[in-house]
Symmetry: C2
Subunit: 750 residues, 2 copies
């Protein structure tokens, strides 16, 4: 630290004397004005200072190891992959440190590494792994090569003026220009899509173009390649079509037009939105710095700012992204992409003081003008709590392809959050999980989404890539908390079919604190079956925490087998019904994910209610379901047919109905009580629900009720056909008349 302080002092003086000399670089992310201010204010701004210190530690440690630019060989997780990834991260940071500290050693390090790349690059063919639809030269896939250039163009910008003209010429001729060409003209199937891969490609080409002042590259980044000869049925490694529907345009503006909904929701889901955000916000910052006349942050009604706000709201209590679609769990708003996003949105957006508390949790800021803004505002005490909220994020470029519903109720240790997926398929990384939901409380996941079957960058697991089980299990319907009909996944498990459809949001109302509700229909997942699910978070002083009420209706002209899984974690404590254990455990099927499940217990209820209580993280949870005495109540566990032990052994509770035309599933889920392992006290370890009932179920109306142990009783009536707010409804239930306006009516009926 003391070393740092000394040069900070030095820097301040040097800065004052040197800032008058106008130079053209840095201009991309760091600006000359920004550098001057950072130098001047660094030692007053703790979070900026610690971010610099962190960068210094990282860069110094790598500099000590010496420069290593190995000939590309390995897949993700392997040595050459990791080395090249570290190289671009360290060059970017070293470039910034050169600007901030003016210590030449950093510039020398970046230059020498770049020259090593410039020496090797012309000798490289495609990466030898030959596993990608669009191979890179440095990495097995062009996507990673684009990452490299997005970061490295920042490093180049930082030492541009310091380099000799000859060095610049060599780097541009042997490295940057051919690199940008390989990403674009040589790889149209990678570059000319509307896809997060292409966004990285566009940003990479655009950012190096801005640094080099190369208008051709800038245009190519903004508008794509003029021609590409991509075939209509060409697909990527994830099975996604290269050319989606759309207006045929490509380039950065096409990404902005098509990849986000008007609400800033990204159809692949938050895990990929996080990944995609970095090139969006960084390239946008670069455009704003170099070409302010584009007004990039105003584009599409401030879309980029909205996208970041949306992304931050798609996190649980710990800041972890909801792992819908292909998503590795554990990724959070602490990621470097979100550091950039939050800083950039704060600086170029409305200076939302809530963002400062996210930035504080991130514990670091960008080393640029935007990070400076954030660090100054934190220092000035402007921080307020970041308030997450209930929201219904429309999906699709026009906002017409379904929605992702988020309901939040309760505060502090009573917080409960629900995510309901009524969106479109989510492209190649989408799962077959129409109308699925996941439930969170203040400890994290309660009824989880499995996430993806992948160990990113862990080489032992298929080089860190998607595992076979991602397709055979994680994507399948039965792995989710949603209805399985006739033992098959939605759309028969076809992504191409799924891509054609989306669910239809029916009701979203988060205005009433007592009951927040989200409801949607799905008409295409199973031809001939109409699915309609309504989920409500109910807050009432008689319950410790908000309850989840789940009403799932399926109707059809022919008999089907309906099955509703609830995935959970931890240890079963009790059931209110008897069950049998199979003598041996075997796979429950041979396709659609059932091949990965084993039945551990099966029973039937002697009443119309089945209750399950379980225990995890020293908390208690219960589900109480209205069932028929014929319904099979199954406890199952994942992990069958898993020769590489790729899957977790997670439990689930299935309600399986005998073949019938229509089915209605009604459940109340409670998070309740806690256990203290030190005092060994168990508080509120039992469910409060004494009864769940169905009062009416017709084409027009469904009315369900539930009761607590003190015999308080609540009723929810749903209008199944007409969700309009103005519609007047009237219904007689058990001799009593109920009249209301709108899609639902919630009554405390003690």
């Amino acid at each position: 630290m003391s070393k740092l302080k000394i040069y900070i002092l030095l820097v301040v003086f040097v800065a004052i004397s040197s800032c008058a000399v106008s130079q053209s670089h840095p201009k991309l992310i760091l600006t000359q004005k920004g550098v001057t201010e950072i130098r001047a204010q660094l030692n007053q701004l703790p979070v900026l200072q610690s971010s610099v210190q962190k960068a210094v530690s990282f860069v110094e440690e790598e500099m000590e190891k010496g420069i290593d630019v190995p000939v590309p060989k390995d897949m993700a997780g392997g040595y050459t992959h990791n080395r090249h990834k570290k190289n671009f991260l360290v060059m970017q940071k070293a470039g910034v440190l050169f600007q901030i500290t003016e210590e030449e050693k950093y510039a020398v390090f970046v230059r020498d590494m770049l020259l090593s790349y410039a020496k090797m690059y012309p000798t490289l063919g495609l990466h030898p792994a030959n596993r990608s639809y669009a191979p890179g030269k440095i990495f097995w896939q062009n996507l990673n090569d684009a990452n490299w250039l997005v970061y490295t163009s920042q490093a180049y910008d930082c030492i541009y003026d310091w380099l000799s003209l000859k060095e610049r010429k060599k780097l541009e001729k042997d490295l940057f220009r051919p690199f940008a060409d390989h990403l674009s003209v040589d790889s149209p199937q990678f570059y000319n899509r509307v896809h997060n891969h292409s966004t990285w490609g566009n940003a990479a080409v655009g950012m190096i173009g801005l640094v080099m002042d190369d208008q051709e590259l800038i245009d190519r980044a903004f508008y794509g390649l003029k021609s590409d000869n991509i075939k209509a049925d060409q697909k990527d490694n994830d099975g996604g079509l290269i050319k989606m529907q759309g207006d045929g345009k490509a380039g950065f503006f096409a990404q902005l037009d098509h990849l986000f909904s008007p609400d800033g929701y990204y159809t692949e889901g938050p895990y990929y939105q996080r990944y995609a955000m970095y090139p969006f916000v960084m390239f946008a910052e670069a455009i704003e710095n170099c070409k302010p006349e584009v007004k990039i942050f105003d584009y599409r009604d401030g879309l980029l700012l909205k996208a970041v706000e949306t992304l931050l709201n798609l996190t649980d209590v710990n800041g972890l992204f909801f792992p819908i679609n292909d998503a590795q769990k554990g990724m959070s708003y602490l990621s470097r992409e979100l550091v950039s996003s939050v800083n950039i949105v704060y600086h170029f957006g409305g200076k939302d003081s809530g963002l400062l508390s996210v930035a504080e949790k991130q514990g670091q800021v960008m080393l640029d003008d935007t990070g400076l803004s954030v660090a100054k505002a934190i220092k000035e005490g402007k921080k307020t709590n970041y308030k997450k909220r209930s929201a219904n994020y429309k999906d699709g470029a026009l906002g017409t392809e379904g929605a992702l519903g988020i309901l939040r109720a309760g505060e502090g240790d009573k917080e409960v959050c629900l995510v309901m997926k009524n969106t479109s398929q989510g492209m190649g990384h989408g799962h077959f999980d129409k109308l699925s939901f996941s439930l969170y409380d203040n400890m994290g996941e309660v009824l989880p989404d499995y996430g993806c079957a992948r160990y990113v960058n862990i080489e032992q697991k298929f080089g860190g890539g998607y595992l076979k089980e991602n397709n055979t299990w994680a994507k399948q319907t039965v792995a989710h908390n949603t209805l399985v009909v006739n033992g098959e996944s939605h759309f028969g498990g076809s992504t191409d079919t799924g891509n054609k459809f989306h669910s239809d949001p029916f009701v979203f109302d988060a205005t009433n604190e007592n009951i927040q509700i989200v409801s949607a229909k799905e008409l295409n997942a199973y031809p001939g079956v109409e699915m309609h699910r309504t989920l409500a978070l109910i807050t009432n002083e008689n319950f410790e925490k908000p309850l989840l009420l789940d009403v799932f209706r399926a109707t059809s002209d022919k008999e089907n087998q309906y099955e509703l899984p609830y995935n959970f974690f931890g240890q079963l404590l009790s059931t209110n019904y008897k069950y049998e254990l199979p003598e041996v455990l075997k796979p429950m099927g041979d396709a659609h994910g059932y091949q990965h499940l084993r039945l551990e217990a099966e029973g039937q209820s002697e009443t119309n209610n089945a209750k399950l209580t379980w225990f995890v993280n020293d908390r208690f949870y219960s589900i109480t379901s209205f069932v028929s005495t014929d319904d099979k109540l199954q406890l199952v566990r994942s992990g069958a047919n898993d020769p590489k032990f790729n899957l977790r052994r997670d439990p689930a509770f299935f309600i399986k109905k005998n073949p019938q035309k229509n089915a209605l599933f009604v459940s109340v889920v409670e998070a309740h009580g806690k256990y203290d392992r030190v005092t060994e006290f168990a508080d509120n370890a039992f469910s409060s629900i004494s009864k769940v009932d169905v009062l009416v179920d017709s084409e027009d109306y469904t009315a369900v009720s539930f009761q607590d142990k003190k015999e308080n009783s609540w009723m929810l009536i749903l209008a199944n056909k007409d969700a309009s707010k103005g519609a007047k409804h009237e219904l007689q239930i058990n001799g009593a008349d109920f009249k209301w306006n709108g899609a639902f009516h919630f009554v405390l009926s003690k």
Copy 2:
């Protein structure tokens, strides 16, 4: 808080005016001198203040609910059980608050609750549950009744002087005296043992005797009942014999003489030692306060002080007790018993400044003279780090019944700790796990002990009591990291047999930083089989963290099937051998714990080394074992024959040898690397060990070696028969001569 501050000020003045009036109570735990000082210094001592505030919140909340003294009915976890437990906790705290704050409402509350008990008690027969070998009247077992009296005698002491003579007479006649009699003369099988139950009984009777100045009760507490008529084969609920070997004495001094080893180790293990500690230290404090002439803390060479130090050292990096024998995981030195213990040992012991950092983590102090000492010392900045250490704790009253070996190496995120169980059986709560070990790193358990099969105070799980699976699984040998011979548990699974024997410590040497070693033999677990295990923690700059080397030798005159389990957590990443998966999963046996296991994969190595790498808590772990190509390498998982889902589904790796006379198992276990879910970087994800080899294995010597990927190689030679330090040894291995003194010789042989 503001309310508190006001009365603290009031209190200071009142204290000054009232302290001159000498009264006889409180004198048990709180003393009059202590009360005066606490009142005077409270608002200068944050941790004392917050402890008072915590007590105020707890007591006020309970006072608001009103007094409830229900007729006893429920088992542990049920309402009346929990209510009576809360009652004694709240009375004790309210009594103390009356003394500290002088607010009469607390005394009124205690008095009224005591009078309710005095009204009910004479009407009670034995608790209706009828499940204990020694039923209480308030609780299902006398043990809990004794808990009640240990706490309540403190409450009574605090309001003694404030009560009218008539009230005192009523309480003593209808409640305390008959209560003490029920615990003792009415329940000799509970009271007159050498056992933690009896310690509670002795302390309860003694503490109320001290408050009431009843010499008969005090003598009964110190020396037990004169006659008890307990039959020689009478057993308790856990299958433990009521009368153990010993000198036939009973009472508190007999507990001190027999329950602890000279090193302060308690034969049942740390979980029960923690539980047992409270009556020991509290009664000792009471004796010291009321009868200082006894010099109780000097008894047996300062045994009680040693016992607390030992207990604190029997914790992992998070302060969790090593869960050997029957122990619920999660119990830690944050428990109230350890708060008392630490405070009392600090105050009456040598004022060890390391204890202050434990007290600070506990975040609370006792509201008595000892807590005051700790709070003052913390305030004065006397705290130093509490340094845990390697130690070999002798077991048995005379220290002659085996030992528990603890090795610790590495610091910070490199910390590794090993616990090897070479003790006696541990009485009724003991497990059949001779020479077993568990391994910890800075994240907690790596190769775990299962702990007990019990959910303490969780009513849904058999009323919170020990589950059937505690006997059929948790106690069995195969549930532990130790050798199973011929598919049976040690001592055929008989506690009575196990109680007769102990393992024989062979070597313990923690003096060398490079290699710390613990070795023991077991001659009785399997008649005719000699087991000899040596475990070493090896610290070397070529490895990220200290390694574990495990050398397990079994010798016999006849052929046996030898099997060595390693229990782990998390997800398998890779093996270096091929395996087959069974089509269906079924129990692996029908007894000795195998009925609860299912085989998930079985293979054989084509070389003499088998390697397994797994992943948990974002850390990597590997085991590399010297095996024969005939050895069956099994991946198994617990949870079979578990109709109530009482067991966790934990994985284990088994090395199973074909029948043979002698067997040698040699393994190296590495904790290595880490994964970051936010950056998605995997560091050091691969094992560093390239080879494990056996060079010599004779009656006299065993020499094993291991090698890293850089071809550094290490060798450990063990003298199998003579462990004496002075002994000279000489051995030729592959043509090279090795000479050394003592039980082992460790060589870096590159």
